[in-house]
């Protein structure tokens, strides 16, 4: 990664020692001049990972585009908590059309800008995992295939949160949601085949695909910046814990996002034209229990008789990710 690894200060923590970095290396968020594109006063829950992710991403995109940015937003928590009538938290031109058409709306905006010769204005589409991996999937794939000049950002909190935490195709196995209750012989969500949209995006050979979490601000900002430096269809999938839907403490949002990466459950990488170009390595791999135990959506796995077999299957998923993406640092454990 092109920025300086921050290891010399507060080693072992992910607090970024901005003050020790050269100005241009500091995060956008650390800058008093950041646009605060998603302004304070919105109505997200305390500790909402999506609110955090959106502000990080859009502020970074604003800096990268010199404030020449338009966003299309899918229906979902982000849309609802940011624009209760008549207030809006958005400091950028922003449109919400529907739940499943955001990529296409963004395509339309990009087409209009092209016709009008406004090359400097850039377009972002954003939505939750449901709006991306399920209902908006057709429009998303179409936008990728045509290589439209849009950066699509998915804020993945692993369920339909806005409607009260129902299962989406991004919901992990065994997780409790309102439609996958922890009852019956196989409590929680089924072990399906999964639907890895970042990988599917790569299969479209689009210029840029990346995954990120809200735990690593520098990495997230770097990826948004990198994406904004390119044209054509680009996709960033950001892992954003949801305290309400996951039954997690609101001060554990960053911790959970970090653990998702350190367990290997969420692989953090980037890819260009369908090929992985870098992965965020795990220095010390963490067992999945450490991640699962912090969330009530997995509480049924840790009852009087722990669901060891289920936990082992989840561990196997993490192990597979680690193998597949080569996530372990050389000499890491």
């Amino acid at each position: 990664m092109p920025f300086q690894p921050v290891k010399f200060y507060q080693t072992g923590t992910f607090t970024v020692g901005n003050r020790l970095l050269a100005l241009e290396q500091r995060s956008v968020q650390a800058n008093m001049q950041r646009t605060n594109s998603l302004n304070s006063g919105h109505r997200a829950c305390q500790g909402c990972g999506e609110a955090l992710g959106a502000r990080y991403a859009i502020d970074a995109a604003m800096r990268a585009s010199n404030k020449q940015l338009i966003a299309a937003n899918a229906t979902g928590c982000l849309e609802v908590f940011s624009t209760p009538y008549p207030e809006t938290s958005w400091q950028i031109p922003w449109i919400h059309s529907l739940f499943g058409n955001t990529a296409a709306v963004a395509t339309g905006i990009a087409a209009a800008l092209r016709v009008k010769g406004r090359r400097e204005v850039r377009v972002i589409a954003q939505g939750g995992d449901g709006g991306t991996t399920d209902i908006g999937f057709g429009c998303l794939s179409g936008m990728f295939e045509r290589n439209d000049d849009v950066l699509y950002i998915c804020y993945d909190n692993e369920a339909y949160m806005n409607t009260g935490v129902q299962r989406s195709s991004a919901t992990p196995p065994a997780a409790r949601t309102a439609t996958t209750m922890p009852v019956g012989p196989e409590p929680g969500n089924v072990f399906g085949q999964g639907k890895n949209v970042a990988q599917i995006a790569m299969a479209h050979n689009i210029p840029y695909v990346a995954t990120a979490t809200v735990a690593d601000l520098h990495d997230l900002e770097y990826k948004v910046n990198r994406a904004m430096g390119m044209h054509g269809a680009r996709y960033i999938h950001i892992f954003v814990p949801c305290p309400l839907g996951w039954g997690a403490a609101s001060n554990d949002t960053i911790r959970l996002a970090r653990l998702a990466r350190e367990t290997g459950l969420f692989a953090v990488y980037e890819a260009e034209h369908g090929e992985v170009t870098s992965v965020s390595k795990i220095r010390k791999r963490v067992p999945v229990e450490d991640y699962l135990k912090l969330q009530r959506r997995f509480a049924h796995l840790f009852g009087k008789t722990p669901a060891l077999e289920t936990i082992a299957r989840i561990q196997a998923m993490a192990d597979k990710n680690i193998r597949k993406f080569g996530l372990l640092e050389q000499g890491g454990q």
């Binding site: 950028i92 209009a112 009008k116 057709g138 045509r146």
Partner: protein
């Protein structure tokens, strides 16, 4: 310039002269030739600057148009039938947001059973979606209405659907007068949006609106359509000044002045009806035809004005409100509140069944004697239905109904009574 050409070609030429900036489309018969024509114009550079986007569904087509329009581009798409239904959520969204997109609907039946031929079920299913709906009688009018549609829609910030009969118009070769670019330019000013996504002046569009203002926002949509009732005749008059012909307007009465019986209809069937009425007039019947051009907004007063002195009204429509009868008929009845007329609904031409003069004569001769049933299905094959009902009586697992009835009919290319 007079030209003998296909209806789709005429429409494509008209749309191109309106200088659209973003066109998006997904293929469905009988809309295909329109967007193919436009696609070629864009690709060859004859229509520039313009983006032509081949989308992956009608839902995406309307969504691209929404994005493009919100970013200030004059946007156009076309569809029909299943395609219109597939995009419905976005259709409502476009009008709700007040985006003046123009869309051609090449009217076609809705399945099941799947059927590619003409009727008005598709457009009628969207009569409450908040779009202005204009129905063309012939290819010249289809061409002209598109030019008026951009003008009207952009003036009101409302989307406009131009409805033309699939195949009957889209695929018919007729002589049309294709206007000069200068005429179109003098009629249609550049698009100046009321709302635009622009970094220089950021706005949020499409926010959540609760009970405190939702009714008012909806009322505004209605009020704008009421405004359209005034603008449509004005625009038609201006159109006549520049282009030299009558096109558009709210309604088009034909031989209605002293008529005792007036047939109300929309679209291309008006031609056949006028011929039929001429013949009936020759035979001494006082009959007339009222064509409705603007179905949304529905011109209640204009319709009432034409019908008020008649003794009976026959609404002939290519759509069916299952469980009640007519769709157009219900609206016409609204226009007649307090008047005492006999009202008849005739469902005709569903799924492309030909509406012949012979059938119209038979039906109207009964109507003028008040012998017609209040709800009539023109040329309905009762035997076919009875056979199927009998089959259902005989056997629980009677099988798929459409396929059974087709088998009963045997192989016929077209049914022209």
């Amino acid at each position: 310039m007079l030209k003998q050409c296909e209806g789709s070609h005429a429409v494509a030429s008209a749309v191109a002269m309106c200088r659209p900036e973003v066109i998006c489309a997904y293929p469905i018969s009988p809309q295909t030739h329109i967007v193919e024509g436009l696609g070629e114009m864009v690709k060859s550079g004859n229509l520039a600057p313009c983006e032509f986007i081949n989308v992956e569904s009608e839902f995406a087509a309307m969504s691209v148009a929404i994005g493009a329009s919100a970013a200030g581009a004059r946007s156009y798409t076309a569809t029909a039938s299943q395609g219109l239904l597939f995009m419905v959520e976005a259709v409502y969204n476009a009008s709700g947001l007040g985006l003046p997109i123009v869309m051609t609907v090449a009217n076609r039946a809705i399945g099941a059973p799947i059927n590619i031929w003409n009727d008005h079920s598709d457009s009628m299913s969207q009569r409450d979606c908040g779009w202005i709906q204009l129905f063309a009688e012939n290819n010249q009018e289809a061409l002209d209405l598109h030019i008026q549609a951009f003008r009207l829609g952009e003036e009101l910030s409302l989307p406009v659907m131009v409805c033309m009969d699939g195949f009957i118009l889209t695929h018919a070769y007729e002589r049309v007068d294709i206007p000069a670019q200068e005429q179109v330019d003098s009629y249609l000013p550049a698009f100046v949006p009321r709302q635009i996504l622009d970094p220089a002046e950021p706005v949020s569009i499409g926010a959540m609106v609760g009970p405190e203002a939702f009714t008012e926002v909806r009322y505004l949509a209605h009020a704008k359509q009421m405004q359209a009732l005034e603008l449509i005749p004005q625009h038609a008059a201006e159109f006549k000044q520049i282009f030299g012909r009558d096109s558009g307007g709210l309604v088009r009465p034909y031989r209605c002045e002293d008529a005792e019986t007036i047939v109300v209809a929309l679209g291309s069937v008006l031609g056949t009806l006028k011929d039929t009425i001429d013949e009936m007039r020759d035979a001494g019947h006082k009959v007339g035809v009222l064509g409705i051009v603007s179905f949304r907004p529905f011109p209640l007063l204009a319709v009432r004005e034409v019908l008020k002195n008649a003794r009976r009204v026959v609404v002939l429509e290519k759509s069916l409100a299952v469980g009640i009868g007519g769709i157009v008929a219900t609206d016409v009845r609204m226009a007649l509140s307090g008047l005492h007329l006999h009202g008849y609904t005739v469902i005709a031409g569903l799924g492309g069944r030909a509406i012949t003069k012979a059938s119209l004569h038979k039906m109207l001769e009964r109507a003028v004697k008040d012998e017609l049933e209040h709800l009539t299905f023109l040329d309905l094959d009762h035997n076919l239905i009875n056979r199927h009902l009998e089959r259902e009586k005989q056997k629980r697992r009677s099988g798929p109904m459409a396929e059974n009835m087709l088998r009963d009919v045997g192989v016929v290319a077209a049914r022209i009574a």
